[in-house]
Symmetry: C2
Subunit: 198 residues, 2 copies
Amino acid sequence: MDILGNYRLILGSGSPRRKSILKEAGIPHTVKVIEVDEVYSADMHPSEVPSFLALKKSRAHLLTDGRDILLTADSVVIKDGLILEKPANYNQAFSMLTNLSGSIHEVTTAFCLRNLERYEIESITSRVWFNEISDQEKEYYINNFQPYDKAGGYGIQEWIGHVKISKIDGSYLNIVGLPMEAVYKALNKLIKSLNANI
Amino acid sequence: MDILGNYRLILGSGSPRRKSILKEAGIPHTVKVIEVDEVYSADMHPSEVPSFLALKKSRAHLLTDGRDILLTADSVVIKDGLILEKPANYNQAFSMLTNLSGSIHEVTTAFCLRNLERYEIESITSRVWFNEISDQEKEYYINNFQPYDKAGGYGIQEWIGHVKISKIDGSYLNIVGLPMEAVYKALNKLIKSLNANI
């Protein structure tokens, strides 16, 4: 399915999961990452942070060609109303898994689609149920999977997701890092409207 | 995580998805498939069919070694109270996707864990939300992915799942074909009780 036609998609994210999701969705793209300071106001509601950061990442790029469409995204893990960032070390990763064990948390991913003329931001939240994780299992996971690049310190598509996540309510790919079905829909809509304007 | 200890897992299923799920869960296993006639009574409730067939598949095996644990499973896709089987040809696959487009359906997977002394069956149901699928998209999917070995004529882990499934309520891996988190829990429990009996 060639949904891009004459347009070109630029993925403004260095996440290998996002790249892989786009690939599985059959959407050709190039990757161009511009690092931004992922700082947000302390009084911002956690669920608003991904939209804010997806837009911030988008604005870091300069678009000059009308055929370019830029996709940026940001994901956060929220437990008890607080954002769990990427764990900086083993102990933080261990604490995060302890926090998530035997309980429910939320994952919010926002994405921004932008071209020369306009941008659209969408934010999607899914809920995730974790079974109890033993200390031995936490240790095994952290040592073998090094989840230091992952919000909340885990990847649903990895070992721990396979053996410990009993249920989700929402988009699976949103939890992985990119709600592809929503991106696909928004991309189709954007290209349709761009083509209608020609 | 070596959860098997002195026990050995036999996967009694030829499904490459189930094999891959077990592998990602880090559980060593061998595959031994004995084909059974997947016939069930017409008056059986659709959601009971997977349990019935998982047990039937299990009973086809002769277990002789106390260290062997056999895992069998069966998945069905249920729409409006009716089971959608594997599509036999292009037209059936097209009709099934038309049936699933823009609506909600259920996937029930049951698994049976069995050793010399006992067996346990568990059945898990998840709900799946499909966005509208255009005829062009159905054609693209069927021609490129040949979903003739898949209950309901689709795989959530394939292109169509990426671009068209907006939401699930339940276990993602259950929809793929094996609710790994439940298998992991049941396997741990079985091995613990076997070890306690020695």
